[in-house]
């Protein structure tokens, strides 16, 4: 009866160096099938992680890849080691890690597609399913014994690995089911592509991984399984590409780096292979990798060139369109100016004659005609205001607005304006107040005519939009400014409308119900004029039906 040591001695196994290098590994293909996926996968996962370390998806991706690399390294140790203790230990750990890789891919899928972590209940279920494989790792249920009926350095597995394969099957089906469900729930085409690619990438990745393991275990032929491992870097590359693509990383850069690393590794590997069949296999795999990565690279370069050309064309078109718009804008302003001037002259004549007629310059008129002339006079006046607003806009747009600056007292100017408009206010039955502390100095350096126009416009608006109640005008003073405030108890303004009122043709939604003739240019012109004086104009209103307050602030002349 031989002892264990005698059996081992008879097998004449080589002593491994650094755990993984020994003659026990038949052919360099094993190194190639393990080290290439290990290095490429780890590089890719760290690269993706470095680009977006805060993303949950990239974290799960990195964690899963690390587990995969540990699995690959430990598997390589199994090929090389001559010590039964090492075989039993690393084989046990490999069996524990394996279903975790499936779980990692599942978590990654949830994080990537749903952009959030898997639900706690689901995570609990995953951990419960994984628990037996972890808790029983060290028992005979995992590895029953070390086989010394031959010199193959193998452990004989117990029932636990078969439970692991079942769990792996559940996880793979879960991934597939989740992918399908999300695919059919989504109607966005791009989102669907993303889900389809990611699910198929994940499934193929697991299939490649299972080839090196499940097939080997079930058929007790571990060499067949080696070829499956070559698929791992391809699908890790595919998953990385998708993570990168949908996180908008620089795809071209990733593809280029990946291609360089892969070619370097493959060329290096060929140096160590002496067997012609293995060289052939390596060349085939090199070709597949090269084709896949080269295709990605060429595609991304092509797309980038096309995009650049498209952007250049768009920029050119935009430039032409802008030039044309500027031209049209200039023409519009010129037309506006020309038309307004042409209209204003006859209007002034009409207004002059109607005023003269009403004042009795052409003798007594019958009452019936007088009423018609009065309507004509009011209409001519409204048209003159509109035409003047158009002319002001045209001057502002063309930069031709001229300001005749002088020192004057704002209080007096406002008082005059108020006095002029008082008959209109009283005619409407509104209460009209004016308040200014006479002790203060209200002098400003500005264009008196323009400021009067603005104040008149604001007070006129208050009259138009106040059906009942009062209008209060106040002039006050701060250290550096003179402030004019016009408050009314009118229709008020909705807060979301306020910012639009100072834009060209900006009117409140219901403004036309109260004031039919308004053009929406008055406040735009007022703002331009006040800002030209380095002043400010703004509105405050608590909302519809709550009145409004207009503020004008001008730099004081000290």
């Amino acid at each position: 009866m031989r002892t264990v040591a005698e059996y081992i001695e008879l097998c004449e196994w080589d002593t491994s160096r650094l755990l993984v290098f020994s003659d026990n590994v038949f052919g360099n293909l094993i190194y190639y099938s393990h080290l290439l996926p290990l290095v490429v996968s780890l590089l890719l996962a760290f690269f993706i992680f470095s680009k977006n370390s805060k993303s949950l998806a990239t974290r799960w991706f990195l964690m899963t890849t690390i587990l995969l690399c540990v699995w690959l390294y430990f598997d390589l140790i199994l090929w090389a080691t001559e010590k039964p203790a090492f075989t039993m230990f690393f084989w046990s750990i490999i069996n524990m890690i394996e279903p975790m890789i499936y779980a990692g891919i599942l978590f990654f899928m949830y994080a990537f597609i749903d952009n959030k972590d898997i639900l706690f209940k689901q995570k609990l279920l995953v951990f419960v399913l994984l628990s037996p494989t972890v808790i029983l790792t060290w028992t005979n249920l995992n590895l029953s014994y070390y086989d010394l009926t031959n010199c193959w350095r193998e452990a004989i597995e117990g029932p636990l690995p078969y439970y692991s394969y079942a769990v792996e099957g559940i996880f793979a089906a879960w991934i597939l089911g989740f992918g399908f469900r999300r695919f059919f729930q989504t109607h966005n085409k791009s989102e669907r592509n993303k889900i389809a690619l990611m699910t198929s990438g994940a499934v193929f990745f697991l299939f490649s991984f299972a080839m090196g393991n499940v097939v080997g275990s079930l058929l007790v032929n571990w060499e067949i399984g080696q070829y499956g491992l070559f698929g791992i870097p391809i699908f890790v590359a595919m998953l990385s590409y998708l993570v990168a693509r949908y996180h908008l990383f620089n795809i071209k850069l990733i593809s280029s780096q990946l291609l360089v690393v892969a070619i370097w590794l493959l060329t290096l590997a060929i140096l160590f292979i002496q067997d012609i069949d293995t060289v052939r296999n390596v060349v085939v795999i090199t070709l597949i990798l090269f084709t896949a990565l080269g295709y990605l690279l060429i595609k991304s370069v092509k797309r980038e060139v096309e995009q650049r050309e498209h952007i250049e064309k768009l920029a050119l078109d935009l430039e032409k369109a802008n030039a044309r718009l500027r031209e049209l804008d200039q023409m519009k302003s010129q037309f506006l100016s020309f038309a307004s001037h042409q209209i204003r002259s006859p209007l002034t004549a009409i207004k002059g004659y109607t005023s003269m007629a009403l004042e009795g310059d052409f003798g007594e008129m019958p009452e019936k005609i007088k009423g018609v002339i009065e309507t004509l006079d009011k209409s001519a006046q409204s048209l003159i205001v509109i035409v003047n607003e158009f002319l002001d806009v045209s001057r502002i747009e063309q930069g031709r607005m001229k300001y005749e600056m002088s020192d004057f007292d704002v209080r007096k100017l406002v008082e005059e304006t108020v006095a002029e408009l008082r008959p209109n206010v009283e005619q409407k039955g509104l209460k009209f107040t004016f308040d200014a502390d006479v002790k203060h100095d209200y002098r400003v350096y500005a264009d008196q005519g323009k400021i009067k126009q603005v104040i008149g416009n604001i007070v006129d608006n208050a009259i138009k939009y106040t059906p009942s109640g009062s209008i209060d005008v106040k002039v006050s003073r701060t250290k550096s400014t003179v402030n004019i405030t016009v408050s009314d108890t009118g229709v008020g303004i909705e807060p979301d409308v306020i910012p639009k009122l100072f834009s060209m043709f900006g009117r409140a939604k219901d403004a036309s119900k109260t004031n039919v003739t308004g053009t929406g240019l008055g406040l735009y012109v007022a703002k331009q004029m006040i800002e030209a004086h380095r002043g400010q104009i703004w509105i405050e209103s608590e909302g519809k039906g709550k009145g409004s307050t207009f503020h004008i602030e001008l730099p004081a002349k000290n």
Partner: protein
């Protein structure tokens, strides 16, 4: 990751560590390994090689 998930993950990581240490202790430190031997099969295997 919410608090419950974090606790679960930490618990599971601890379980993995304990299991790894137990496995290491059994196989590497104690070298508690069951061997399957069969003189006849072994001889046949040697002859095949």
């Amino acid at each position: 990751m919410d608090k419950k998930s974090q606790i679960l993950t930490v618990f599971f990581a601890l379980l993995i560590m304990i299991s790894t240490v137990a496995t290491y202790y059994r196989y590497i430190v104690l070298e508690d390994i069951s061997y399957e031997t069969d003189e006849q099969l072994f001889q046949e295997s040697l002859l095949e090689e």
